[in-house]
């Protein structure tokens, strides 16, 4: 609120870092809570605008499940000003949070269906919120297949959780790396090389893939060739974003503001948006 009592959409809520965990060389996992005592109240696949005051704001997906309240988690790769500044913070630091923004994954549509998740690299961060929710409400979904690809073993995120999923017999987890190292005994190859290993029922499967733009082109081909319908394939898109409110124009793809109508889109929608991928 300003002195005149006018509220502003650009005013962040303060949040405190309670835990910071180094996941890989470039990624850290931050656990936060809102200082005003509210729950973030997000849906899986939504994002927040995180402020490091004095440096700037960046859109970051909430990586924790909506089903787990109190705190929330952000997994951040250090690439530029804001993300580097986040990496310099210590527990107890204060940041600003606006949001949650965006549509999130269509969880209701997924209930009762087999799910095929194909995250690449940092794409696991947004998908993890959905995977956690699905596992927390395991009984209302069919098969859960996860195909996860990273560039090399040291870039694999959430290793403990991967091990946990691996151990569950109601999750089919396949992990691959583009290039292995001396200790790596698992699958080697880009993520698309995992697809021949699985068979699915295309009529009853919803697929979600999140990763860098180059990956989408190839993963889509695999998903389509498995017979999954355009409307049942979902992607989460990254764009430059400043406001998160559908105003600043940066995230626009053709006539769609990603922060409003996205970041999650079905492939059927994207076919109408030639600028998308």
């Amino acid at each position: 609120m300003t002195d005149q009592g006018i509220s502003s959409l650009y005013q962040p809520t303060l949040a405190e870092m309670v835990k910071i965990e180094q996941l890989t060389e470039k990624e850290k996992l931050f656990t936060l809570y809102l200082k005003d005592g509210r729950d973030l109240g997000h849906r899986a696949g939504q994002f927040v605008e995180v402020s490091v005051f004095g440096i700037g704001e960046a859109p970051i997906s909430v990586t924790s499940s909506p089903t787990r309240n109190g705190t929330f988690e952000l997994c951040v790769r250090q690439v530029g000003d804001v993300t580097r500044a986040l990496h310099r913070l210590e527990p107890g630091s204060i940041v600003g949070i606006r949001g949650p923004f965006g549509n999130g994954f269509p969880v209701e549509k997924m209930r009762g269906k087999d799910l095929l998740f194909a995250p690449g690299g940092l794409g696991l961060a947004p998908l993890r919120s959905l995977i956690q929710q699905v596992l927390d409400e395991r009984e209302s979904f069919g098969r859960v297949i996860i195909l996860y690809g990273a560039r090399n073993p040291s870039e694999l995120l959430f290793r403990d959780e991967l091990a946990h999923w691996e151990a569950r017999d109601d999750v089919e987890l396949y992990v691959t790396v583009d290039r292995g190292d001396e200790n790596w005994t698992g699958h080697v190859g880009v993520i698309t090389t995992l697809f021949p290993e699985i068979t699915i029922n295309p009529r009853n499967t919803i697929a979600v893939t999140v990763g860098p733009p180059v990956m989408y082109r190839f993963v889509l081909i695999e998903l389509l060739s498995k017979g999954i319908q355009d409307g049942n394939i979902f992607l989460s898109l990254e764009r430059r974003m400043k406001c998160g409110l559908g105003k600043c124009g940066h995230c626009q793809i053709n006539n769609v503001y990603v922060c409003q109508k996205g970041p999650v889109f079905s492939y059927a929608q994207l076919k109408e948006l030639p600028e998308a991928i």
Partner: protein
């Protein structure tokens, strides 16, 4: 309430009385051209101005404005900044009034942007009709923006030695009622008013070779037109077209710390989809790297996207972009070229033709 009239000799007192209660902004001369600027004396006001270099959007969406201030340290504090002084903007032409209307929609639909809306709410808009085209670049008549249906508080028409004044809001009505210099229009005034209006319309020409309702579809089928490549070759990516555009409102947000590194501001400032890094994300991926794709985006926004979002045309035909483009990219020419080189009749008729051929 019948139309009122303010004689030109009474305009000074009208404007001066407005200046007592609020900042008054209007066209003033600059280097042989005109700009909207706050005035401190009626004599600076140039209501005879054909068109200003920049549109009046800067008074609602300033080139750079603080939106947040904060203090760092033990107890981080931040609070929004909204600067909205009471203002009157006088001398806005129909194109700019229509454009402002579109901006109002953009900043109030879905998420209400109080930084814009507060400034807008505290502004009185006094429009002024164009009795002839400002210059050869104007194509407002084609865009349907030579007339206004609303979006103003008062609207003036120059009938020689007086202005006929229409009101478009209770604020305007009240303002008019308060001003002693405003008198009832006489029969003679009304006759002149009608004569001015009758004479005006033919002085403007239709420049688009299509109706504007056709524009979104024309663009829809022109996504892959070779024209975009041509524009990309010429375009300097200097952003002039979007900066001077009354309906462009994209912005950037940056933080600026004071030199003590303890307190700072978050600012928003104009940005432009024509600049190379507008759509660049971390990792270096640029979703609109080619100048051609940026030019296309601009014309799609003006001619299609904004219309689809807000139901109002995104280009008001003021011609500012064409006037300021050093390589002569002109929307009239762009749309007409698409029309001429595209499939005759546009999308719908192509469908019909295809159907008739039985394919």
């Amino acid at each position: 309430m019948p139309l009122k009239v303010i004689d030109k000799k009474n305009m000074a007192s009208f404007v001066t009385s407005l200046m007592k209660e609020r900042e008054v902004v209007g066209p003033v001369a600059k280097d042989g051209k005109f700009v909207f600027s706050p005035i401190d004396d009626y004599s600076q006001l140039r209501l005879d101005c054909p068109i200003t270099l920049l549109p009046p959007k800067q008074f609602f969406l300033p080139h750079e404005e603080p939106i947040l201030k904060y203090k760092l340290g033990e107890a981080v504090r931040s609070e929004p900044v909204i600067e909205a002084p009471p203002r009157a903007i006088i001398g806005m032409h129909p194109c700019d009034i229509n454009a402002t209307w579109l901006l109002d929609l953009a900043f109030s639909t879905d998420n209400l942007d109080t930084n814009y809306m507060e400034k807008r709410k505290k502004a009185i808009i006094i429009g002024l009709d164009c009795n002839q085209p400002c210059d050869e670049h104007a194509f407002c008549k084609s865009m349907g923006t030579l007339t206004v249906e609303g979006g103003y508080d008062l609207f003036l028409t120059d009938i020689g030695d007086a202005y006929v004044v229409d009101y478009g809001s209770p604020t305007g009505m009240e303002l008019l009622a308060r001003h002693k210099g405003a008198r009832e229009a006489t029969g003679a005034d009304m006759a002149r008013f009608r004569a001015v209006q009758d004479a005006k319309w033919p002085k403007f020409t239709y420049k688009l070779e299509m109706s504007i309702s056709e524009l979104p579809n024309l663009l829809g089928i022109s996504y892959d037109s070779p024209l975009w490549e041509e524009l990309g070759k010429k375009c300097l990516a200097c952003g002039a077209c979007t900066l001077v555009c009354p309906t462009c409102y994209c912005f950037d947000i940056v933080d600026r710390l004071a030199l003590n590194l303890k307190e700072g501001q978050r600012l928003r400032r104009w940005d432009s989809c024509q600049l190379p890094e507008f759509a660049t994300v971390a990792g270096g991926e640029n979703f609109r790297k080619a100048r051609s794709s940026r030019q296309r985006h601009r014309f799609f926004r003006k001619g299609k996207y904004l219309t689809e979002m807000f139901g109002k045309v995104g280009c008001v035909g003021c011609g500012r972009c064409a006037r300021s483009c050093l390589v002569h990219i002109d929307p009239v020419e762009v749309y007409n070229t698409l029309k001429r080189t595209g499939i005759p009749g546009g999308w719908a008729q192509r469908e019909v033709a295809a159907y008739q051929q039985g394919s």
